[in-house]
Symmetry: C2
Subunit: 417 residues, 2 copies
């Protein structure tokens, strides 16, 4: 049997299980999640042991540093996973929510009701906690899950997926609602991305390689890809506020997608603002790469190459450009931004509303740090990623974004005339 | 220059124009639509003349019947198009609507605001009125449009697209916001479907051939494909109501996607209901294809082949099956339905709510005809198709479904700690 036939066969069983899962009550789903949290704590030693196999194998292939750290699980990290699952228990169930309802003149009552999407494939890289986080979120939203993790974490992921399946089984949910793809070959991703009809949605969590692998996915995706975020300091910005926002956006956590990569400064305040922000950035250990006008004011800054404006550094590096106007700033962001999050700092309400309207980003900030582009910070209670899609869901996602809707139309014998 | 490079070049200009269009006021968009309605009436004679070229060319290639009828435009049809455009003027502008807003404990005010999707490619077949209908809808929702119509209507579509472009130009909207792809070769569709980044959404309007051509589209789609709709007449159905609903669902307009194709009848009422509905169906000229148990009660019915249960007849043909239970009906619909619209007729509230929950269709009807699965009948004011997608939009679509949203976050210097 070919790998594709094999995958199609399993997916048919996942689809079947998804139908039962979609009809599970909130209590039943929460019981499974509570059981999962308990099972994680109970199995902590076993998980750490299996994880050690993955770590040892990774070390022998020369992997080190941040990658190894992302791969590693210890008891505190397992406890954090268990708590994350318990937090998802406490979130309201999106399934069954009436989004809108109205009655037509002919007496038909129309309800738009939230329902699960169906079968979601989560394709991720080295972090094994995604198995639990994404699994618990999909489950709470009533979706069956296909998990395809990275090669390096395969033993840990297999162990964790087994623990989820056990929790499902013990609480009367068909364990086929979770399928851990125990084959980290590139080919499995290539097959999965063409299973329209069997897989309703792919949630990719990873970097450039994964993005490239899924470039032509026929299955719809909710990708969480690049974040090239800008802050534009307007001519009417309060400079102290601008400085605090810029330092936060760049330095709070430079390795994440909502960190600032490009700073745009209006020429009228550049002479005052640039030396000031440069001092703070230097203190924070940030390397500056500037345009020519920036370097006139900050002679120690490195020159920015063209490629710098399109770079997601994810590091303590910042590209700075002096612009002549808010329009130039907006045009620059349109060209170089990734549409994830961009900010303006200004006291001018006209500039603020022009920026809000014209910057086509999922999250547009006025006088706040781009670091707030985040499901928790938005108050969604859970973090299911930040969609860089324009369709279905855009920006920070919560549980709702893992659902769709259907219409229920109640009549008393109406026919169309 | 290759065709693909050529297409990419034009799409870059369309994207540029889409940015201006997205910022147009409701008044400006409505002015363009009113101008378009006037221009259509003014150009009626010219349109009919050009359309005659298409019709003559089609006739020489042996095309006839319904296809020719769909292709043909006369003055009343042009008047209907103009009125359709005026109706879109009267609909509320979805762009700018605040979907939700809330304030976080740290004082950040978050607004979820409706914005245009960007660049929408409408790929359609022979009906030239789609050029105007879809063009006007996309425009009202602030989207730039790429139009790729069928070979047979190319002269008419070119003329109509030119009229839209004129209306845009006269009202200060960049006419590059509409691109009529004046090349009906198969290749253009194959290129368009891979232009992720340049095209945000494909709206396909057509039949099986178009569906197959777009099977592996990398650009997200809002497809309007098959409708294999069911009506299940429960053991506790009011039979007169069931009869009226079934006749309406089958006969009101058999050629459309929300017409009933399969009728399921509970065994307890089959002996009473089947002869009754068979009489009415016969009067309406409907051919019945029945399962064995149906044929015991209706000996004149043709036997249904396996393929009948999966057929979208779009014609006066109905497949009928006797089922043992509501569960068998639900299972049958899950297997054979296309998820567009399915109905139950019952007086039993428990059966109704079980059907509502377990039938995974975009529109689930209780005691009403599936023919109501329609944007106008839902009260959306406009018909942009019925999405057979699970994501972004599902079921009947209005103008809102041609938009997305962004978050605007207003602060007073907040930084993340």
């Amino acid at each position: 049997m070919s790998l594709e036939t094999e995958i199609k066969d399993v997916l048919a069983r996942v689809r079947q299980a998804s139908k039962s899962l979609a009809l599970c009550s909130t209590d039943q789903k929460n019981a499974a999640l509570k059981d999962l949290a308990r099972a994680l704590r109970r199995s902590a030693t076993a998980i750490v042991e299996v994880n050690r196999e993955d770590l040892n194998r990774a070390r022998t292939t020369g992997i080190s540093g941040a990658f190894l750290d992302r791969l590693a699980l210890d008891e505190p990290r397992i406890e954090a996973m268990a708590r994350g699952v318990e937090q998802i228990v406490s979130l309201p169930d999106p399934v069954g929510e009436t989004i809108a309802s109205w009655t037509r003149p002919n007496g038909l009552a129309i309800l738009q009701v939230r329902v699960p999407i169906g079968v979601i494939a989560v394709i991720y890289e080295s972090r094994p906690n995604v198995t639990i986080d994404a699994g618990a979120l999909c489950l709470k939203a009533g979706n069956a899950i296909v998990m395809r993790g990275g090669r390096e974490a395969v033993a840990t992921n297999r162990e964790l997926a087994g623990i989820i399946a056990g929790a499902l089984e013990r609480t009367g949910i068909p364990p086929q609602a979770l399928w851990f793809v125990d084959n980290p070959d590139h080919e499995t991703v290539q097959i999965l991305k063409h299973q329209t009809g069997a897989v309703d949605l792919i949630v990719p969590r990873g970097g450039a390689a994964l993005k490239a692998a899924l470039r032509d996915s026929a299955v719809p995706m909710l990708p969480h890809f690049d974040g090239i975020c800008h802050t534009y300091v307007d001519r009417r910005a309060e400079l102290k506020m601008a400085e605090e926002i810029c330092i936060n956006a760049k330095c709070d956590r430079p390795s994440v997608c909502n960190a600032m990569e490009n700073l745009l400064v209006h020429r009228d305040i550049a002479r005052e603002f640039l030396p000031r922000i440069a001092r703070s950035l230097k203190e924070a250990g940030v390397e500056i790469r500037g345009c020519e006008r920036t370097r006139e004011l900050l002679p120690n800054a490195a020159p920015a190459a063209d490629s710098d404006w399109d770079s997601e550094y994810l590091d303590l590096i910042l590209a700075i450009k002096v612009v002549d106007s808010i329009d130039e700033a907006i045009e620059f962001i349109t060209k170089h931004g990734s549409g994830l999050a961009d900010a303006i700092v200004t006291d001018d309400p006209i500039a603020a509303s022009r920026f809000e309207a014209a910057v086509d980003s999922a999250s547009v900030f006025v006088n706040a740090s781009t670091r707030f582009a985040d499901g928790f910070e938005f108050g969604f209670g859970a973090e299911t990623g930040i969609s860089t899609n324009r369709l279905h869901a855009r920006g920070p996602m919560g549980l709702r974004e893992l659902t769709t809707y259907k219409y229920i139309v109640r009549g008393s014998g109406q026919v169309r005339v």
